[in-house]
């Protein structure tokens, strides 16, 4: 039954995965934390999903499937999250010219909707600890990703590498 639960959860996520990668992350979080992964694991998982090739929703599904039931579950979760999008593409291609939806209002509606999803994502992933090093990473990555053209990947890998190499030293210097 657990497998069906994973499949159904990611199928539903696929239906509402609108508007670029980040908007759907909050919906994924609400669906999988704390049932399948904890808060810290989820943040690490998203960082990995963003720094490996491929769409973030797809990568998150593959990873949660893998952690939860190995290779077959990884396949099941991945296929579940793309099932509805692929179905939608197939249906509209078959029905082309038989249904007409006004494209402009739809695109505007989707833009508004995906911005709301992003804001919800920001709320559910707001920094949870006041640890100065972690807060510095969050603020630094915001500045890099918002105001420079540097790929966000470098912020993710950089923060990881700094914390891995210098974390204990920085902590002892700061007395925390």
């Amino acid at each position: 039954m657990e497998a069906l639960n994973v499949i159904w959860t990611f199928f539903k996520i696929g239906i509402i995965a609108f508007g670029g990668g980040w908007s759907v992350v909050g919906v994924i979080k609400n669906a999988v934390v704390p049932m399948w992964v904890d808060e810290a694991q989820f943040r690490a998982l998203i960082a990995i999903a963003q720094s490996t090739p491929g769409p973030i929703a797809l990568n998150a599904a593959t990873m949660i499937g893998w952690n939860h039931g190995g290779f077959l579950m990884a396949i099941a979760a991945t296929l579940s999250v793309v099932a509805f999008p692929v179905f939608a593409i197939a249906m509209t291609t078959l029905l082309a010219n038989k249904v007409s939806i006004k494209k402009d209002p739809l695109n505007e509606a989707l833009r508004t909707g995906s911005l709301a999803m992003m804001l919800m994502t920001l709320w559910v992933l707001r920094p949870v600890s006041l640890d100065p090093i972690m807060l510095t990473f969050a603020i630094g990555s915001f500045v890099i990703a918002a105001f420079t053209k540097i790929n966000a990947l470098w912020a993710i890998l950089g923060a990881g590498a700094i914390n891995a190499a210098l974390g204990p030293l920085l902590r002892s210097l700061l007395g925390i």
Binding site: I16, G20, A47, T52, P55, A57, T62, A109, L119, A146
Partner: protein, 186 residues
């Protein structure tokens, strides 16, 4: 004359698979990074014109799911029909799948080492910053009107207050926003 019209390799499902598999192996950074790469590599081969591609991309954004997937599938349907779509699907899905399996297996083995744990904690700490940056960039690009501000705030509140109801809230929300967009125009 031959020099003016270079012999273009025609698209086949197999070639489409390799083009998308390659792009999805080497491009990091999500949909906003990958779509221009898809566009230029299809144009370079003479398979779509620039206008055609942006038209396809505009349609692709109306679909749920990764825009890399919908853009790849819609352009491949146009080029090679059903088998083109199948090829594009596997080209987009397979490389990230294998990459995640590889990384996850490594983490299963090495994830308990203190340095790896610290790496993951540091990498995870940037996530709120990256989301905030994406909100900032998206909000800046949006052409704001008073109704749209109210709509975004209302929908965000609903999503935050009722996390278990994301699916009905968003489906209902998109329909309502679609209708409202039509109303405000008049």
């Amino acid at each position: 004359m031959a020099a003016d019209t270079p012999a273009m390799v025609p698209p086949t499902p197999w070639r489409l698979f390799w083009v998308f598999a390659w792009i999805n192996t080497v491009t990091l950074g999500g949909g906003y990074a990958i779509v221009p790469v898809i566009g230029s590599s299809l144009q370079k081969r003479g398979w779509v014109t620039e206008d055609d591609f942006w038209d396809i991309f505009a349609r692709a954004q109306a679909y749920p799911g990764p825009s890399a997937l919908s853009t790849a599938m819609l352009s491949s349907i146009k080029l090679c029909g059903f088998w083109g779509a199948v090829a594009a699907f596997f080209g987009v899905v397979l490389p990230p799948f294998l990459a995640i399996i590889l990384v996850s297996s490594l983490l299963t083995t090495y994830g308990s080492l203190p340095a790896v744990k610290r790496f993951l904690a540091g990498a995870g700490a940037v996530v709120p910053g990256l989301v905030a940056a994406m909100v900032w960039r998206t909000a800046k690009r949006r052409s704001w009107t008073a109704p749209r501000i109210v709509e975004v705030v209302a929908l965000t509140m609903l999503l935050i207050l009722f996390p278990a109801l994301s699916l009905p809230i968003l489906l209902g929300g998109i329909v309502a926003l679609y209708v409202l967009e039509g109303l405000w125009k008049h």
